[in-house]
């Protein structure tokens, strides 16, 4: 047990750092390729929607980005849980490096949603269940990031942030359910989101490609951020010293 513990604690960042460095270009490259393919399919292959004409094409950004915003939160909470359970520093670094990306996706989801809503619903914002819960998800991200930033002791910040992420993850389904409930209760004359009746195969392909692009982007960016955090935290250790020595 102790050998495993020490392996996590000392060896891991040291081996992870160069490994992540080698992996980042691949993931970044894959993100670019998938994004190019996805955008091509989205703009040129997918047919024009009968009801919404060209506007609907924002779906190729909006939907993948919303998926990622929810998924990243769960991944972040999972890293936090692993960190709290096994006291592994790498998992806290991963949790910390994922938060800004997740928040960015949540923000993009709201932004693209507003851009989509304006021409189709005639308004930037409706208190739709999905929009509202996405907004709350953004607040959850901001809460975690603010808590991590406000605590000076980095170790305590990691652990408190992880605990908050877990508490949030437990609450996410309850929040979502409550918002849906609230929305159906108060359904006024306002518009409701119409479901796409049957999605053309090309549309689905475009969305999947864009999702893959988002995945690759998230991995590349969070690895890069984890590397920065790692350098900052391990700056007193020998291996960072050697790294700095060989770089100069």
């Amino acid at each position: 047990m102790f050998s495993l513990f020490n392996w996590f604690r000392y060896a891991s960042p040291q081996t992870f750092y160069p490994l992540a460095g080698r992996m980042i270009p691949w993931f970044a490259g894959a993100a670019a390729v998938f994004a190019a393919a996805g955008l091509y399919v989205g703009f040129f292959v997918a047919p024009t929607d009968a009801q919404q004409s060209e506007v609907y094409r924002v779906i190729f950004i909006h939907v993948p980005v919303s998926w990622m915003s929810m998924f990243i939160y769960l991944v972040m909470a999972a890293w936090g849980a692993i960190g709290l359970a096994f006291n592994t520093r790498l998992s806290f670094m991963m949790a910390r490096s994922l938060a800004p990306t997740g928040a960015l996706f949540a923000f993009l989801s709201l932004w693209t949603g507003a851009l989509w809503g304006r021409p189709t619903w005639g308004t930037w914002w409706v208190w739709d269940a999905r929009l509202t819960s996405e907004l709350i998800l953004l607040f959850l991200y901001l809460g975690v990031m603010a808590l991590q930033a406000a605590i000076d002791d980095q170790r305590r910040g990691d652990r408190a942030g992880a605990l908050l992420a877990i508490i949030g993850a437990i609450n996410v389904p309850i929040i979502y359910f409550s918002v849906v409930w609230w929305n159906t209760l108060h359904q006024g004359a306002s518009v409701s989101l119409t479901r796409a009746p049957s999605m053309a195969r090309a549309m689905l392909a475009g969305m999947l490609l864009m999702s893959l692009a988002c995945w690759m982007y998230s991995i590349a960016v969070s690895l890069a951020r984890a590397r920065c955090i790692m350098l900052e935290r391990e700056r007193h250790t020998a291996w960072v010293g050697e790294l700095a020595g060989s770089a100069s």
């Binding site: 102790f2 513990f5 020490n6 604690r9 006291n87 000076d152 002791d153 980095q154 170790r155 007193h236």
Partner: protein
């Protein structure tokens, strides 16, 4: 018996100490020494189980702390930098409330304990209006209450006058005679009998008995 083996503690990114090992037998005491900021309080917190060490272990009577937290805490009396008393209550109420979480002390016991430290048991003044030294005395009255086996005291003599230091030392000696164990930090010499050792943090004269 308190066993500390290969203890390493971190504060943020900084390693405070590593490979700290010692054994504290029943009836013995250890004086933790080191400069300001050397990490004495950190070590004490790790000994109480409040701080999770980065590596290494602390065991009480052969059982690691995290496995029998409640049993260990039943045997433990810890006094930190802060006195752990409420400003809005008077001295006797404070002692009563602090004691009642474990086993409620009687009024007579509390009176006795306060006399031991030279406090007036019938005073109803809220602790807020007492001096630093008197507040410390109130906190230290807990030493005269109950029968915990391990005392961990952070700067118990801070702000005390000579008379109070003498009475605290008397309590400590009695505790050691009964077979209790004691860990303390202090910047002054500790005039205690029995088997006492010093443990240094962060100085060349580090010795691990």
């Amino acid at each position: 018996m308190l066993e500390v083996s290969a203890l390493c503690c971190m504060r943020g990114e900084r390693e405070i100490f590593r490979d700290m090992s010692f054994v504290l037998a029943d009836g013995a005491w250890i004086h933790i020494r080191g400069e300001n900021g050397a990490g004495k309080t950190t070590l004490l917190k790790a000994l109480t189980g409040l701080l999770r060490p980065a590596s290494g272990s602390v065991a009480w009577n052969g059982i690691p702390l995290h496995e029998s937290r409640d049993d260990f805490h039943r045997d433990l009396l810890y006094l930190g930098h802060a006195n752990g008393i409420k400003d809005d209550l008077d001295a006797a109420e404070n002692l009563m409330l602090a004691g009642s979480i474990v086993d409620a002390p009687t009024a007579a016991e509390i009176t006795l304990a306060m006399r031991e430290l030279g406090l007036n048991p019938s005073s109803r003044t809220p602790v807020r209006s007492l001096s630093q030294g008197q507040k410390r005395r109130v906190a230290l009255s807990r030493l005269a209450l109950g029968r915990t086996k391990l005392w961990i005291l952070d700067e118990p003599f801070a702000a005390l006058d000579t008379a109070a230091v003498a009475s605290v030392c008397r309590l400590m000696d009695r505790h050691l005679d009964r077979g209790g164990a004691l860990v303390l930090t202090s910047h002054q010499e500790v005039p205690l009998g029995g088997r006492g050792t010093e443990v240094w943090i962060g100085t060349p004269q580090e010795n691990n008995p």
